[in-house]
Symmetry: C2
Subunit: 537 residues, 2 copies
């Protein structure tokens, strides 16, 4: 009989403790919807009492109608107090979620040192807090913090903590390797012991400080744990949490557990990449299973063997988890993607048509140069519209100049742009607090007379990545710009060895995309002096 494993995702809570990760309420909602489509069973949203972002998240997530259980996070009640009066517990009960995780101490050393209370009071804190959730009709998960360190130091007390949570009605008892220092063999032995002592379902929550979080999660499951807590891409404090993108396929494809549906598993790679984009954390090319190089082959012998039989150098079929083999230049999943995308846009596209082949070749060539359209839908749409729809560029760039000037310690960035808007020449300049800001200001100033609504959108995010860090001053960079209008956002891309040019490309695409959906005002062409007067006002 196949054993079911429950996946508890804490990307939105523990994942955001990772250095450099900061998610808005909007980001969290997008991620929650994506996780739900992947099929995780629990989505930990955060602490509903801790900050305004989390409060907003819990209010809005109800409207998404997700299948996964949204859970709130908090601690056991404060020492020497009453659960009913604990502000944090009250907020959880009022948040409207049906399940919550409470973290409590299971290492006697921590009870003394960090909590500074008695072992007995800690047990009461756990009992009272879990019982409070149950009285409020909620599913209760108990996170036993530092359980493995606690067990090694004082097994009887650590087990007493778990029994207390069980007695209070905890639905899941989750064993946490909070410092990430435990070895897989110890995890296996200790989980086996816990299983023999408890009747409640056991979960495992590990950290990657020894690069063993995945192995430790598997060891716990093999010893009887039935829930795995982790994050997408292993985000989390210090070295991160257990990486669900590796744990899920290992459990399902290698060890025969039942975790997700086969179709859901195929969305794993897309989910990982989408969330890395939202979190704006560079995904290592070599990330297991879902990385861009996870099934990439460059060695000559490997490639010739792969072409004979892909099993020779691939441990699974990459398609099972939505990744793909890479040998040749082509990065794109294939022309069927492009055709279906164009058809979505209402364009008359046919896979066998010569023009389609040309645009596919063009996109492959651009991806080879370093463009990446997965994160730049708007640039892709412009390419397709111009090829198939005869969509005209909203404006033509005649030239641009960028001046960076440092004198007397102050920096000035100035941009000069020369455009042609439907036959009307426009030539203007603007300053900014940096080169890209100046270019943005100049473009905006030039186009405002024609598109008075241009002020309704702005640049929301700007990212630079060096594609090939070698190559001294000729290193290529990719710039991604995210823009936001009143009710939508779009992303555009530019690539060049000149960072100013790459930024300019992405910026121009962003404006062109915005103007596609904006009414143009007729500005009467005038002589050049007058035009300069107009746009320089």
């Amino acid at each position: 009989m196949t054993i079911n494993i429950s996946i508890f995702d804490t990307t939105l809570r523990d994942g955001t403790q990772g250095e450099g990760i900061s998610l808005s309420a909007e980001d969290k909602l997008k991620i929650a919807a994506k996780l739900d489509a992947l099929g995780v069973h629990y989505i930990e949203g955060g602490n509903p009492g801790s900050n305004s972002k989390d409060i907003e998240f819990f209010q809005r997530v109800k409207q998404l109608g997700l299948s996964a259980k949204i859970t709130a996070f908090g601690s056991t009640r404060r020492k020497n107090s009453v659960a009913e009066h604990d502000t944090s517990l009250m907020r959880i009960a009022e948040s409207g979620v049906k399940a919550a995780t409470l973290v409590g101490k299971s290492w006697d050393f921590h009870v003394h040192t960090a909590l500074q209370t008695t072992l007995e009071e800690n047990l009461s804190m756990i009992y009272d807090s879990i019982a409070f959730l149950k009285r409020n009709g909620m599913e209760a998960l108990f996170d036993a913090e530092h359980f493995f360190d606690g067990y090694k130091n004082n097994p009887e007390y650590a087990l007493a903590v778990l029994r207390k949570a069980q007695d209070a009605g905890a639905d899941w008892i989750v064993l946490c390797d909070t410092n990430g220092g435990t070895m897989p063999g110890e995890i296996h032995d200790i989980v086996t012991r816990v299983r023999s002592e408890l009747t409640a379902d056991i979960g495992i929550h590990t950290h990657n400080d020894c690069e063993l979080a995945v192995a430790n999660s598997l060891a716990a499951v093999q010893a009887g744990a039935r829930q795995v807590q982790g994050t997408i891409n292993g985000y989390g404090e210090r070295c991160g949490n257990a990486n669900l993108c590796s744990i899920i396929p290992n459990l399902q494809l290698k060890l025969g557990y039942n975790v997700l549906g086969d179709d859901q598993l195929k969305t794993l790679t897309g989910t990982a990449r989408y969330i890395s984009e939202i979190a704006n954390v560079h995904m290592p090319v070599g990330q297991a299973y879902v990385g861009n190089a996870a099934f990439a082959h460059k060695g000559g012998i490997h490639v010739s063997a792969i072409l004979k039989d892909s099993k020779t150098y691939e441990h699974i079929q990459p398609e099972l988890i939505g990744n793909k083999q890479r040998i040749l230049v082509s990065e794109l999943a294939g022309q069927s993607n492009i055709v279906s995308k164009a058809q979505e846009m209402g364009l008359d596209v046919n896979a066998n048509n010569e023009k389609t082949k040309q645009i596919i070749d063009r996109i492959k060539e651009l991806e080879h140069q370093g463009y990446q359209f997965e994160g730049a839908d708007a640039s892709m749409e412009l390419l397709l519209r111009e090829a198939f729809d005869g969509t005209k560029e909203a404006f033509k760039v005649e030239s641009f100049k960028m001046l960076v000037d440092r004198g007397n310690g102050s920096m000035v960035s100035e941009a000069i742009v020369k455009l042609n808007v439907d036959g009307t020449p426009v030539y203007t300049a603007a300053e900014g607090n940096g080169p890209v800001n100046a270019l943005d200001n100049a473009l905006r100033k030039a186009l405002l007379p024609f598109y008075p609504k241009i002020d309704e959108f702005h640049l929301a995010d700007y990212k630079v990545r060096v594609l090939d860090e070698k190559g001294a001053t000729a290193a290529k960079v990719r710039v991604l710009i995210e823009s936001a209008g009143p009710d939508n956002t779009w992303s555009t891309v530019g690539v060049s060895s000149n960072v100013i040019e790459a930024s300019w490309e992405a910026l121009v695409d962003s404006f062109r995309y915005a103007l596609l959906h904006m009414d143009k005002v007729d500005v009467v062409p005038a002589d050049q002096s007058e035009r300069v007067g107009l746009v320089n006002q």
Copy 2:
């Protein structure tokens, strides 16, 4: 009795199969010296017959007088041929190294599909090739490619392969999980079986396709393997090789094996970071043990507990592996570092002196802003010399301007610099194929009349990193520039939200550092028109 584990580093061979990693012979020599100081037992240098870089490496590495055994890598002889006439084996014998690793097939499927020969001929190929090494007086390591897949498919044949290598005199039989698809439990069981069948010493070589390479290496050691093959930072094809930076401390600090000396272990973090700089691969902040965030604490509760007792949230003392706790802003190991560095430079520096405290505060402040002096020794030296030595800047920057101009599809980058060289004003301009190249050309042109030897150095490497990818167009970047003279190299750093300004800072530091060691020529001050004529020639 403590068990010794032999560490076989293949960063220079298998590590260079990683996407985006390319090492010059010079890079490889620097890395070999660093690995030797760390105390690894074997350093695999590459394939002495495969390319000119590796040939140069094997010639020059002998002069370094390293303690580690340098090993060459190759395959078993070609099918239906004689080892003595195999060019690749001959090159290994002639390379002058005392040990070599030969890879051979142990998966019957591969013998048929990839090698396209008989199982019997494959056994002969292995026997002949290992025997050839032994006849040449070399230590012989046999890498059994795909051993675990082979064993699962045909255990008898896979074991026969190992016995053949053993019979031919192999000193080490290394079991390879080439596709990285094996689970830790399988590794443990199969290594246990192999140990019961063989007398030769066993090694383990794993890949990280399931994010289990570290766990699999440990499982093999716990089952009796006595050598671990891996790479620094886990570099390698697809998802990488087993990461020695995690395996070594896990074996030594967690599982009680004897691997390196305690003092050597303290160089682990420095070694990992140095090699990531040479390989120019960004080290993830969250990398286990050696990452910059591996012992970083930001949660309020964690920090207060850490301050009570660091054991509360740290699984080991970070100093054991040369890393450090990070709570506060200060990134620098401490003032003792700065004082000893200044003393190395012959500066009269005292830790208790007010000026020393000021410069330490200044460096901490700069590091907080994103400067990183570990990778920019020359910028650090300039700071110290200017503070303690009264070293004057070789030139003063009055102003610079950078013009990027795109018209008619072509990009022009132009730089205008205004300097003051010992009272002489210089004002000049130059073009380049990108903004940084133009700034470099302009500086060079301005300084050449004063420092005719300025042509003896050039920019060797240029790196940009976005420090805080959020923050739209105001994202901060760090630029690192490596410069090379006739017999030395130096690195400098600049940080700004304006990439042009950050590049300029690093460039100016590079020139200042170079000029410290160059004779200045007296250029007679002339009126401004004449000077302009001079420098614009």
